[in-house]
């Protein structure tokens, strides 16, 4: 080994910096899975969400927080065209998914929902066996090869396998609420999606089940991109890399109110030093 000399000192402050830990990986440098530009949504002619522009980054957890009626659920429902099924819903602006217009004429909404899965507030397993709940999607999509292995793999992935491996033929409705929700997450990943949207996935669960879902979200982001709507700000602080705060804006002409994006930044920034006073008031519980 070379002896340290005056020109190559033994103590190199850069090396000490490296030893102390590499700079944190900034998720904003990652590929944008969704590039959303000036997205607005109307229901029956009434504006629900106004002009939202943001990027959702690959293998990151992005949380959407805000008071009731701020448009956060409306927003994530645009990401897999769930608003298509609501009569009178009109979506304007651009949603690019891997650079491709999600609302383009040539895009099949069913394929969109396979690639971009969704988990809802209330666990909604099919009234079928645990096995069939997982196998249903792959079967429908013709992914029939190695189905048993797929079911096991997916249940393991959703941290549910050990709890259900001896009762796969039992009705899924016999599971606890927390287990049902993990089953729904397993069902969503069984069709090999790219993105998982979660709309208040733990708000109906007890704290232990909530913690399991949050642990699962941490695990799943290695392979998937996750967007999560939550009323629980601490949940956003715990699980998300990026956080978007939406609020309600009252229209000056008195014609009603709509949701707007107020601030979108690293979660650490939103919860330690938000840029907008409205965000500060909301996250500190002064408003909303």
């Amino acid at each position: 080994m070379d002896q340290p000399t005056a020109s190559s000192p033994a103590i190199d402050s850069r090396r000490i910096g490296e030893l102390a830990g590499a700079p944190a990986d900034d998720v904003r440098a990652r590929e944008a899975v969704f590039a959303i530009d000036d997205l607005s949504v109307q229901y029956a002619g009434s504006l629900a969400l106004k002009g939202t522009t943001l990027d959702i980054h690959k293998n990151a957890v992005t949380a959407f927080i805000g008071p009731s009626g701020c448009g956060k659920s409306t927003f994530i429902r645009c990401l897999n065209r769930m608003n298509d099924v609501i009569p009178g819903a009109r979506v304007t602006g651009k949603v690019l998914y891997h650079g491709r217009d999600l609302y383009g004429a040539d895009v099949d909404p069913v394929e969109v929902r396979r690639r971009i899965g969704m988990v809802f507030q209330k666990p909604n397993p099919f009234p079928k066996s645990i096995y069939d709940n997982i196998a249903f999607g792959p079967r429908m999509l013709g992914m029939k090869k190695g189905l048993d292995e797929r079911v096991e793999q997916v249940l393991r992935h959703a941290a549910l396998w050990d709890e259900v491996k001896d009762r796969l033929k039992e009705n899924a409705l016999g599971l606890s609420g927390g287990q049902q929700q993990r089953l729904c997450i397993a069902r969503a990943i069984a069709v090999e999606p790219d993105v998982i949207l979660m709309d208040e996935p733990a708000s109906a669960l007890d704290p232990i089940s909530t913690a399991r879902i949050e642990d699962l979200v941490h695990e799943l982001k290695r392979e998937y991109t996750i967007a999560i709507v939550t009323h629980n700000m601490q949940q956003a602080a715990r699980v998300a890399d990026m956080t978007a705060f939406f609020s309600v804006e009252v229209r000056e002409d008195g014609s009603g109110r709509h949701g707007i994006l107020v601030e979108y930044d690293l979660t650490t920034k939103i919860f330690t030093n938000p840029s907008d006073k409205r965000t500060e008031d909301y996250v500190t519980g002064r408003f909303g």
Partner: protein
Amino acid sequence: MARVQYQRSLDDLEASFQATGAIVLRSIRGVVDALRTQDVELCDEVIAFDDEIDARYVATETDVELLLARQTPVAGDLRLVLAVLHAMIHLERMGDQCVTIAKLTKLSSHLGTRGAVVESLGDMGERCYEMVHVALQAFAARDAEQARSLHELDELVDRANRQVFEQVLGYAGDPDALEWGMRQITVARCFERIGDNAVDIGEQTAFLVTGEFTEFTDASH
């Protein structure tokens, strides 16, 4: 406004910090006066005062623990709680420095005083008093600029510290004066540390206001 009880807890926490600051100011005033007049009784009072500062620091630590556990402060509230906790540690250390000055003053009182050094130390103490006053004021006013001005004030204290050292070197031929002088070097060092702690509180104010922590001076340069 929502969360009335929570806001009250935050207000109480900050009020307690300011009240502790006021006690530290009294301690500094006490040691400066005791130094100038060689008042041993006043030294004892300052030493006794420190228990009050310590008790307040421990109480603040408990209050912060409860606030974090029960209210989960975030954003500006979180920065306030962290800044108060850090600033309280600095106040507690200032209290300890005052105790050391008081004890040294007692210990060296039989050796007689030398006017020039006492004057320098008195000036240092006055500057420290002013710095702590500015630090508390800037914190209350959330004034990052005023907090940054502490760095310049501290340079004057550092300069005075070096001056005391030079003055004491002049006593080399007089054993009594030298013993007394060496104790005064430690006194000067205590004042110098109080100045540093006031700068530290200023840094907490800047963190509270901006959300970013930066040291006003880099000790390695």
